[in-house]
């Protein structure tokens, strides 16, 4: 159990981002507010620390709230992926037989399908909502959790204590929760940290393309797409949300690595 | 060849304050003879082996010197010893399955070492490899060369590993528990092979094991280790028939014999082995020793000669003198 530089750096970055987002919102005000007097204002102009976008919205306000939106999405995706993935893994591991085979084949297929075109194609028939986005991104995220949980179930089910518990009359759900799941705790945490970063990138990418979270949602990706249009005249509109996004992802990656160091080198990531 | 001579070999961790983790170890053997290093898990056998190979883990320092074969050179550093691997020093490790790269044929790996070091040409190496394999009992050595490690059984793999270690005509063959991973039925056969070979080529065999019976059967000299120290060393027959050190005695008493009469309980030594890394200077066996005295806790007992063997126990030495 050692606290490595990565953990400190990653944790530090994430904490900084949260603080920044809170302070930034206080200073910047509401992201929806359009200040028509200062369209595309440069960073540093009065009242707009990081400038404004083509509709006069304050960049600092938008970025600060965007950070929170991103974190919400990341949290949602990680929770949903973990929930679905672990459930599938437990089912596959316990039932063995054809259900297991089918589920694992499904996982393999899922993993080899390029996610982005799938998201995009799905967006043709789907609506602008955070819930839908979270579900969509989780479609890609559940596989590592399933593999992890299944492997754990398979390795533990023949163990003495499981048999002893069953003989003592414990029902399966109790066995699962009390004995099997706690065993994957550390690996799941590492996995979650790394996945959070990936989820953020997907959300931002989709929003950038106009398919993810559009206004009234406040997304970093959306601001970047606006920034793309005015890149020559107003570099700040695209740059600041990008920096924020990069910092968040790097923060999660470092934290994930740090968690892996913290829990010891025998922690696998469950990525096949 | 002049055999093997190890003088005051020590392994120290970190800066070197306090007693060394291992040592000092001194032993010597003439060409063709076999030395057995015995000890339970935690006695420091592996670290000793790695010291002799010059492959200590990071943070450990080597002390003392080693002299091999018939050249005049005395090796004092890890690097010098390391350079002799695959040359004057051959090694057989415990796990036959992790002795090979799974992706290359067995034959290419047998010759790899000597060919890379330019000790001989590839064709000469192949010829010698085939010859060695035949002597290891393989009737179709050519075909065996083309096999991949995943196709081998444990016994086959270990015999090939031995052949591989013998390729460069080493002066010393180090064997770390060479038969522990094999079926009991194979052990004697494999050990016989090793011993016959080293005796024939004049190499010194150093076997490390926890199995006292096996060591007793095949070795000329036995070195008993405990807690990183040599507690007793001497000719095998003498040591086994008249063990002096309390640990050696206990070890022999613990060794189960098949067909022992009556339902005697299996003997064991109470307590558990000490850590190799201690800061105090004292006899490491003291906590478990039936003969312990106050003086035992104050300093490490030196290894002194006593009727043909060397023992590290002042209590035993003193009693012998009185007699």
């Amino acid at each position: 159990m050692k606290v490595s530089g990565s953990l400190v750096a990653g944790g530090g970055i994430l904490v900084f981002m949260v603080v920044f987002s809170i302070v930034g919102s206080i200073v910047g005000g509401s992201p929806a507010k359009q200040d028509f007097a200062s369209i595309l204002a440069r960073p540093g102009t009065a009242g707009h620390l990081l400038g404004t976008d083509p509709l006069g919205r304050d960049v600092l306000a938008w970025v600060s709230m965007g950070i929170r939106t991103s974190l919400e999405v990341a949290l949602g995706v990680v929770c949903l992926s973990a929930l679905v993935g672990c459930t599938i893994g437990v089912v596959a591991g316990f039932t063995r037989g054809w259900l297991d085979v089918v589920l694992m084949r499904l996982a393999d297929i899922q993993l080899s399908i390029p996610p982005l075109p799938l998201f995009i194609a799905a967006s043709a028939v789907v609506v602008n909502s955070m819930t839908t986005l979270i579900i969509l991104v989780s479609i890609v995220g559940w596989v590592p959790y399933a593999r992890l949980t299944r492997a754990r179930v398979l390795s533990q089910r023949e163990r003495g204590y499981v048999m002893a518990a069953r003989l003592a009359g414990r029902r399966r759900p109790a066995i699962i929760f009390l004995h099997i799941l706690p065993g994957i705790r550390t690996e799941a945490i590492v996995l979650a940290s790394l996945q959070a970063g990936v989820a953020l990138l997907w959300e931002a990418g989709l929003s950038f393309l106009g398919l993810g979270l559009q206004p009234p949602y406040v997304s970093l990706g959306f601001l970047m797409s606006e920034g793309k249009e005015v890149l020559a005249q107003a570099w700040w509109v695209a740059t600041f949300p990008g920096v924020a996004l990069a910092l968040l992802v790097v923060g999660f990656n470092l934290t994930g690595d740090g968690m892996r160091d913290f829990f010891g080198s025998d922690v696998a990531t469950g990525n096949g | 060849m002049n055999g093997l001579s190890v003088s005051d070999l020590t392994v120290v961790r970190g800066s070197g304050a306090g007693p060394p983790a291992i040592g000092p170890i001194s032993l010597s053997a003439e060409p063709g003879k076999a030395v057995g290093i015995v000890g339970e898990t935690g006695a420091g056998k592996t670290l000793t082996l790695r010291a002799l190979m010059g492959l200590l883990p990071a943070g450990f320092q080597l002390g003392g010197s080693v002299h091999l074969g018939n050249d005049e050179h005395v090796y004092r550093t890890e690097e010098e010893l390391r350079r002799q691997l695959g040359r004057a020093i051959g090694v057989v490790l415990q796990n036959p399955f992790t002795a090979f790269d799974p992706l290359k044929s067995v034959g290419s790996q047998i010759v790899e070492g000597v060919v890379r070091r330019r000790l001989t040409s590839r064709s000469a190496a192949r010829a010698r490899a085939v010859e060695l394999l035949e002597q290891m009992g393989f009737t179709h050595a050519d075909d065996v060369m083309r096999l991949f490690p995943s196709q081998l059984s444990g016994g086959m793999a270990q015999r090939i590993a031995i052949a591989m270690a013998l390729m460069p005509h080493p002066a010393v063959l180090l064997a770390d528990e060479p038969t522990s991973a094999l079926d009991a039925t194979l052990r004697l056969g494999v050990l016989e092979l090793i011993c016959r070979f080293t005796a024939a080529t004049g190499a010194v065999l150093v076997i490390i094991s926890h199995d006292l019976r096996l060591i007793g059967r095949f070795c000329d000299t036995i070195v008993v280790m405990y807690g990183g120290r040599v507690v007793e060393a001497g000719p095998a027959k003498e040591l086994l028939e008249h063990p002096r050190h309390p640990y050696t005695r206990a070890l022999i008493a613990c060794t189960p014999t098949i067909g022992a009469r009556g339902k005697q309980p299996l003997a064991s030594i109470p307590g558990s082995p000490p850590s190799l890394f201690q800061s105090e200077h004292r006899c490491r066996f003291a906590p478990r020793c039936p003969l312990v005295e106050d003086a035992c806790w104050l300093e490490e007992p030196p290894l002194v000669p006593l009727s043909g063997v060397r023992v590290a126990c002042p209590v035993v030495s003193r009693e012998a003198v009185h007699r």
């Binding site: 990565s6 084949r105 393999d108 080899s112 399908i113 390029p114 996610p115 982005l116 075109p117 799938l118 995009i120 194609a121 043709a124 028939v125 970063g197 990138l201 931002a204 990418g205 393309l209 890149l231 020559a232 695209a238 740059t239 990008g242 996004l245 990069a246 790097v250 999660f252 990656n253 470092l254 690595d257 | 492959l55 691997l85 695959g86 090694v91 490790l93 992790t98 090979f100 790269d101 799974p102 992706l103 790899e112 070492g113 009992g137 009737t139 179709h140 075909d143 083309r146 096999l147 991949f148 995943s150 196709q151 081998l152 059984s153 444990g154 016994g155 086959m156 270690a165 194979l186 056969g189």
Partner: protein
């Protein structure tokens, strides 16, 4: 004859060669079957996709046509037939390479896709190659560097690079190189220099993940028991890393690269959008925005075929690298 050795040693090479061939064929057949299975699944998904919210005619109409016309449209396009029968004709069409006609252009849907495909493949080809070469160079030098200088430098750099979204890199590149420095053109596919920026944007994140994986695998092997045994034979660390760790790390690495390459087929969308690159990505976006359903279907299937091909190539590579496939153990357990 040494005691304990039976004549069972004998059955070896000739039998082994035949079994190797059979083993290889069996393996390939298995992978091909799996690939076809996945492809079929993707094709089915592409079919279901446009029926996910009901009759596709309604999606096409977009809510701006009266019910009667929607119904007529549905009949004209065959969307009012039973689902299974539509599925059947769809499959037949796909096998013949026919995806219907693009609603926007009136030309066969597959043509638009085939015109755009080579442009995307160019991007992928260059980025993937660059990422591969660079990541191997960095990973190997990191592992080889004696005092760890290279390693200590690259680790944090790679970590940071992996977090930066490819589209942000693209934007920054455009900003710096095109807008302010006027070094490179920023739009379209008009000669090799226009390849530079989009490829850099794509290469950087891939490079990062490749390097991390390869380095981890190389280190795993170099610190393993097997590597210790190799050192015991007299091989130097350098010889072990280059001659043994590398090959052993390749199998997982190649699988990962193939997976990434497959993902890249659809994953160039954002970068293509930024650079107005006439590839599959931009086509998909425009088709989605215009609800050009047949083109969307064609793209999904073409992407599926592409990643199936990539995966099969990876399987072939793994086969070439791993001599264990098709070689069973010989002799009794002795």
């Amino acid at each position: 004859m040494v005691a304990g050795v039976t004549p069972g040693d004998v059955l070896i090479e000739r039998a082994s060669r035949a079994s190797r061939r059979n083993g290889v064929l069996l393996y390939l057949a298995g992978r091909l079957a799996a690939g076809i299975f996945v492809l079929f699944g993707a094709i089915t998904i592409s079919f279901l996709l446009i029926h996910a919210t009901g009759n596709p005619a309604t999606v096409l109409a977009g809510g701006s046509l009266p019910a009667a016309q929607v119904h007529a449209l549905s009949q004209q396009l065959g969307y009012n037939r039973p689902l299974l029968s539509q599925y059947g004709s769809y499959i037949v069409g796909v096998l013949r390479g026919q995806f219907g006609v693009s609603f926007r252009y009136g030309t066969p849907a597959i043509d638009s896709v085939m015109t755009a495909l080579p442009n995307t493949l160019a991007l992928i080809g260059v980025s993937l190659s660059a990422a591969l070469v660079l990541s191997i160079a960095i990973a190997v030098s990191s592992v080889l560097s004696r005092k760890g200088w290279a390693d200590r430098f690259w680790r944090p750099v790679v970590l940071v690079l992996q977090g930066i979204p490819d589209f942000w890199i693209a934007l920054i590149l455009v900003l710096v190189l095109a807008v302010h420095l006027h070094l490179l053109p920023s739009l379209g596919f008009a000669g090799p220099e226009t390849l530079i920026m989009p490829c850099v944007a794509l290469t950087v994140p891939m490079l990062a993940s490749f390097t991390r994986l390869l380095r981890a695998n190389l280190l795993d092997f170099t610190n393993s028991d097997i590597a210790f045994a190799l050192r015991a034979r007299g091989l130097t660390r350098r010889e072990i890393v280059l001659g043994h760790s590398f090959r052993n790390a390749m199998a997982t690495f190649v699988s990962f690269v193939a997976l990434q390459a497959g993902w890249l087929i659809g994953g160039t969308v954002i970068v293509e959008t930024i650079f107005a690159w006439p590839g599959i990505g931009t086509l998909l976006i425009s088709a989605v925005l215009a609800r050009d359903l047949t083109v969307i279907q064609a793209i999904v299937v073409v992407i599926a075929v592409a990643f199936t091909v990539f995966n099969l190539l990876a399987d072939l590579a793994v086969l070439w690298l791993d001599p264990r496939i098709g070689r069973p153990a010989v002799g009794a357990s002795r």
